[in-house]
């Protein structure tokens, strides 16, 4: 299995263009090379949702940066995202359900929850740190969203995306 480089890390500006560029680089890079095409697509989708959520709701238009690096497993399914936004992920996001009707928003977090086996956030020294592990099987993607682990400091509030 090809693994992410030990010191691979990315720091991007908090804007949608930078997120897109990073996803394209990841798609072509070594970090996801050990995954099946379905696993790679799901990982890129989840990372895109998380990063754009930080842009849109964390920094909410203010300038900022986002760091992305492989987690300890370094197998392409384990990621850590760090930002310095004042706003954290609202706790309600982890319980967000897929909209029942044709909706123009509200899909982002339910998609994240459907495609990951673990998501956790914490606030440390003014930084937001999110860790996530992708589901190992892509066959079970229709499973209903489940509640994520939260290590404290989460805010109640509306969930974007």
């Amino acid at each position: 299995m090809r693994c992410a480089r030990r010191h691979e890390r990315h720091v991007i500006a908090a804007d949608p263009a930078a997120v897109r560029d990073l996803l394209i680089r990841l798609e072509q890079g070594v970090a996801l090379a050990g995954l099946t095409p379905d696993e790679r697509d799901c990982t890129l989708l989840v990372l895109g949702e998380v990063l754009n959520n930080v842009v849109e709701h964390g920094y909410a238009g203010a300038p900022g940066w986002i760091g992305l690096m492989p987690g300890p497993r370094r197998d392409g399914r384990d990621w850590r995202i760090v930002d310095h936004a004042e706003r954290q992920v609202p706790e309600g996001c982890f319980r967000a359900e897929m909209p029942e009707e044709a909706a123009e928003g509200g899909f982002g977090w339910p998609l994240i929850m459907a495609l990951t086996e673990a998501v956790a956030t914490r606030r440390r020294a003014g930084f937001n740190v999110m860790t996530l592990q992708m589901r190992a099987d892509t066959a079970g993607q229709d499973a209903p969203p489940r509640q994520a682990g939260a290590e404290g400091g989460l805010q109640a509030g509306a969930c974007g995306g």
Partner: protein
């Protein structure tokens, strides 16, 4: 977000030229679709065969396009790639649209 538009009888086929329908492209996609639909016939087929990445913003934009339809107009989808089909299926938005396997299937289908 450039859209390629062609007419096949009563069917207007719209094909995004870019491979990504994401948070960066969603607003422009909606704007372009709005003006396209104004001049379209009864059936509008969105051919997504060139789109390999669609996120929740892109999905929301496709759903939003339905608001622009006139009475008697329908938006149908065709050519979903596996990554795009997965997003529609997981969000259950595949139930909100008529989805054709490919553009040929869409053109052969009855309104």
């Amino acid at each position: 977000m450039e859209l390629s538009i062609s007419r096949h009888g009563a069917v207007t086929v719209v094909r995004p030229a870019e491979a990504r329908l994401d948070a960066m492209a969603a607003v422009m996609f909606k704007d372009r679709m709005k003006s396209t639909i104004e001049g379209a016939g009864a059936r509008v087929v969105l051919d997504l065969s060139a789109v390999g990445f669609l996120d929740s913003s892109g999905l929301g934009a496709v759903v939003a396009v339905q608001r622009f339809l006139r009475a008697g107009q329908a938006l149908e989808l065709a050519g979903l790639t596996s990554a795009v089909e997965r997003v529609f299926r997981l969000t259950r938005m595949d139930r909100m649209f008529t989805i054709h396997g490919g553009l040929d299937d869409a053109l052969r289908a009855e309104a």
